[in-house]
C-alpha cells in the first residue's frame, strides 16, 4: 500500500517560481570585488593550461578578474610600471567540490559545521554559517584552493545545504557563487556515532536510511501540495527532488554506496557520492549508474577492511572512466587538498588525471566548466603560482591569485613582484 509517487521531475510551475525566489544565483562578474582595472602579469617557466596541455616560458595577462591573454615570454612585452609576479609553474586555481571549510572556525568561535539538535536538518544553509576568516578556509587558500563547495559535515542523516563559494572575497555575498548547490546526506557511521552514544535515533544504518526516506517522502508531498505551509527543509529537499540541486551523499563502505544508489533510484535523485573509500569494489555499479564520485582522504572515509588504500582508489576510478574529483570532504585539519592529491599520485594516479581531479573535473561537476578549471583566455583569473611541479612533494605554493587579485603570497615574494 502506498501513494503512487508523482515523478520528481514533474515539478509544477508554481513551485518552480517559489524555489527560484530563494535560490541565489549570483553573476560571476568580479566587479563587486573592486578589482583593479590595472593589469597584472604572471610570468612562468611552465604553465599547465589544462590537464593535457602545457606551455613553456609564458606570460599570463590578467585584468578585471579575468585572464585576457597568454603568450610566449619572448613575444609579450610587460609595461614597465605593471605589476608582475613570477613563478616556476602556474596551474589553475584548485577546486574542492566538497569541504566544510568556512564553517569550522575551530580556533576563533567554535565549530559551526554540524548541528547536533537532530539528525534531519535539510533547512540548514552553509551560507548562514560561512566565515571568510575561517582558519580551514585560509589554509585551503594558501594551498591553492580558490573555489569550494562547502556545507555541513557528515554528522547528521541529512546535514543541510551546500554553497559554492570563492575562498577569497570582500564579503560573503561577494564570495558566494551559488547557494544552495545541494543537500548533504550521510550514510556512514557518523550519524550513528552522533546520536547512538545518547541512545537517540539513529543508532543503526537502517534507522538512518528510514529517516532520510521519510524526509524525502514528506518533501515530495510538500511539493505536490497546493496549499502547504512554507517549510524550509522540505523545500530544500524539493529542490533536490526536482534536480535543481544535487544530492551529495556520503558513503564509505560498498554497502553504503549501494544504499545511496538505491535511495537515488527510489527518488530519482541527482546523486553525487562523497567519501567512497570502497568505490573500488563497486566499479560496475558506479559505471552503470553514471554517478560521479568525490573521493575523500582516508581520514574521513572509513573503508571496510581488506581493500586497497583509499589513495589507490583514485587510479581505479580513472582507469574505469568514472567521473571523479578529489576533495577534502569532512576533513577538519591536517592535510590540504594538494597533500591528498599527491598521495593519490604516489598510489598510481597519472599527473594529468590528478590535475583534472582538482581543476577541470570539479569545475564541470559544479556546472562551472566554462569559467573555471583551466588557464585560458576568458576564464576567471584563478591561478596558483608554484616553485616546481605541482605533485612534487617539495613544491611550495608561492602565491594564489583569485579572480584577478593576489589573494595570498608567501613571505618574501612581495619584494620580487616589482623588480624591473
Amino acid at each position: 500500500m502506498s501513494i503512487a509517487p508523482v515523478s520528481s521531475r514533474a515539478r509544477d510551475a508554481t513551485r518552480r517560481l517559489r524555489t527560484a525566489a530563494v535560490c541565489v544565483v549570483l553573476p560571476l562578474t568580479p566587479a563587486a570585488a573592486g578589482v583593479e582595472a590595472q593589469s597584472l602579469y604572471v610570468e612562468a617557466a611552465r604553465v599547465h593550461v589544462s590537464p593535457d596541455r602545457t606551455l613553456g616560458h609564458s606570460i599570463i595577462q590578467v585584468r578585471d578578474g579575468r585572464i585576457v591573454g597568454i603568450g610566449s615570454a619572448a613575444s609579450t612585452t610587460i609595461p614597465a610600471d605593471a605589476r608582475r609576479l613570477t613563478a616556476e609553474v602556474v596551474i589553475a586555481g584548485l577546486i574542492d567540490a566538497r569541504t566544510t571549510a568556512g564553517l569550522s572556525s575551530v580556533i576563533e568561535a567554535g565549530d559551526d559545521t554540524d548541528d547536533r539538535g537532530g539528525p534531519v536538518r535539510p533547512e540548514l544553509r552553509a551560507e548562514d554559517g560561512f566565515d571568510l576568516r575561517d582558519a580551514l578556509l585560509a589554509t585551503a587558500l594558501r594551498s591553492g584552493v580558490t573555489l569550494v563547495q562547502t556545507g555541513p559535515g557528515d554528522a547528521n542523516s541529512i546535514g543541510g545545504q551546500t554553497a559554492i563559494v570563492h575562498t577569497a572575497g570582500e564579503t560573503v555575498a561577494d564570495a558566494l557563487v551559488r547557494s544552495p548547490s545541494g543537500v548533504v546526506f550521510s550514510l556512514t557511521e557518523d550519524a550513528k556515532t552522533t546520536y547512538g552514544a545518547r541512545n537517540r535515533l539513529p543508532t543503526t544504518r537502517m534507522a538512518n536510511v528510514a529517516l532520510i526516506r521519510q524526509a524525502l517522502i514528506d518533501a515530495e508531498r510538500h511539493a505536490r501540495s497546493e496549499d502547504a505551509t512554507p517549510d524550509a527543509g522540505r523545500e530544500a529537499l524539493g529542490r533536490v527532488l526536482s534536480g535543481e540541486t544535487k544530492a551529495i551523499i556520503a558513503a564509505a563502505r560498498a554497502d553504503e554506496i549501494a544504499t545511496a544508489l538505491r535511495i537515488a533510484r527510489e527518488f530519482d535523485l541527482p546523486l553525487v557520492l562523497t567519501g567512497a573509500a570502497d568505490a573500488y569494489a563497486v566499479l560496475d555499479l558506479l559505471d552503470g549508474a553514471g554517478v560521479p564520485v568525490l573521493l575523500s582522504p582516508p581520514a574521513v572515509t572509513r573503508a571496510a577492511s581488506g581493500g586497497p588504500p583509499v589513495a589507490g582508489v583514485a587510479s581505479r576510478l580513472h582507469a574505469r572512466g568514472i567521473r571523479f574529483a578529489l576533495v577534502t570532504g569532512d576533513l577538519r585539519e591536517g592535510a590540504t587538498l594538494l597533500d591528498w592529491v599527491r598521495e593519490t599520485v604516489r598510489h598510481g594516479l597519472s599527473e594529468s588525471a590528478a590535475l583534472a581531479a582538482i581543476t577541470t573535473a570539479p569545475a564541470a561537476l559544479l556546472g562551472m566548466g566554462d569559467r573555471k578549471g583551466t588557464v585560458e583566455t576568458g576564464r576567471d583569473a584563478d591561478l596558483v603560482l608554484l616553485d616546481g611541479e605541482p605533485f612534487e612533494a617539495g613544491t611550495r605554493v608561492r602565491a594564489v591569485i583569485a579572480r584577478g587579485r593576489v589573494a595570498w603570497q608567501a613571505a618574501g615574494l612581495a619584494a620580487e613582484t616589482r623588480r624591473d
Binding site: 500500500m1 502506498s2 501513494i3 557511521e189 550513528k192 556515532t193 546520536y195 547512538g196 541512545n199 537517540r200 535515533l201 539513529p202 543508532t203 543503526t204 544504518r205 537502517m206 534507522a207 538512518n208 536510511v209 528510514a210 526516506r213 521519510q214 517522502i217 514528506d218 508531498r221 505536490r224 501540495s225 563502505r253 560498498a254 554497502d255 549501494a258 544504499t259 544508489l261 538505491r262 569494489a281 563497486v282 560496475d284 555499479l285 571496510a304 577492511s305
Partner: protein, 397 residues
Amino acid sequence: MRRPAILLAVALVTLPDSAAAQDVLVRGARVYTMTDAGVIENGDVLVRDGRIAQVGASIGAPAGVQVLEGSGWYVMPGLIDCHSHMTTQLERGGGSDRHERGQRVNTGLRILDSVNPRYGWLVPGALAGGVTTLHVMPGSNASFGGRTVLIKSVPRATADEMVVRHPLGMKMSMAATRGTGVAEMREWFTKGAEYADRLRRWEEGGRRGTEPRRDLQLEGLADQVSGTLQTHTHAQTAIEMQYALRMKREFGLNLVLHHAFDGWKIADDIAAADVPVCYGPIVHSFANENLRTAGVLASKGVKVSLNMDSASDFQKHLLHAVQITVRYGMDPMEGLRSVTRNPAEMLGVADRLGAIAPGLDGDLVILDGDPLSTFTNVLYTIVDGEVVYARGNGAVN
C-alpha cells in the same frame, strides 16, 4: 568410500567462467528431494542457468557442464535459516546495525539497509554449513524491530543482488512488550488500521482534499494488519506466545512464532491457531523440555523450522540442530524438512526454495554422509548453480 580430496581438486581446477558456472551436474548420489519424489538412490541432479533442470537417474552431461561424481554422497536442497542476524553486526567498531535503540516502534525501518553484502562470516558461517538462504531480521530489543529480508548467503557487491524477497515480514518482540506493552502494541496496530483506512477513503474519493501523509511507520503497521507483511515475533515463554496469538486473533496478523522454547506447554493452542514456529536456537536451551519441543510441536501438526539465531560462525551448525532435534524425538524426515521445505513454506518461497525439483533455484548442499550423522561433513555448497563453497578450500575445518 570417501575421496573428496581428488574430487575437490577437479572441481576447483575446472570451475568454469561465470556463464557456465550456473551449470552443474551431480551424478550418482543419494538425493533428498524433499518432495513427493522422496529420496532417490543413485540419483542425478542437473542445474542449468542457475535453476534445477532435471532430477532423476542417468542424466547425460550436456557439453560444458561441470560434473560432480557423487557416489557415496548425499544431496539436499540448500538449507534455509528462518531466523538469522548475519550481515548486520559490524565486524569493526561502531556497534551493531540491527538493534535500533532510539525508539520502540521501528516499523518504518528495513534491515536491508543494514545488510553488509561482504560480511566476513557468510562463507565460513553460512555456506560452510550448507546454509544458502537466510531470513535476516532486526534484533529483539524493541517491540517493533523493523522489516525483515530473505537473502542468499553468498557475498555480493550489493545487498540488492542477494535479495530473494524484500520486505518479507515485520520483526516484533513480545519480550519487549510485557504488561502495558501489550496495550501499546494494540494501540499501534489500531493506528496502522486507521492509516490504511484513511488512505483507502482518499483513493476511493478520487484523491480529493488534502493528500494523507505517507508515513513509513504506519505503513508498516498497516501492512502487518492486512497480512501483506508477515509478523515474525520473538516469543520464548508461554505468556509471550499467548500475547502473540491474541494479537493475531484481534488484528488478523500473518504470524510466525520465533524461539518458542515454551512451546511444549501450549502446543495445542499453537496448533489450533495454525501458526508456524521457527524454533531455536536449540543449543541455547538444553533443558529436556526444550530439546523435545520442536518434535512435540511437529507431532501436533505445527509447521516447524529450526534456526541458529546467529551473526557469526555459529550459523554453520544448523544441520546439527536437526540432529539434536531428531535425537530428542522429531521424525527424521520432518527434521530435514525443518531446514528446507518447512521454512520455504512458512516464508512463502516454496515456489523457489526448499526442495530439489525442476524449476526451483539451483541451491544444493552435498554431504559426504547421512545428514543425520554427527560425523557428516558439507563437501560442497551450490547456490544458483554455482559452487560457492568447497570443503578444504581455505574456509573451514
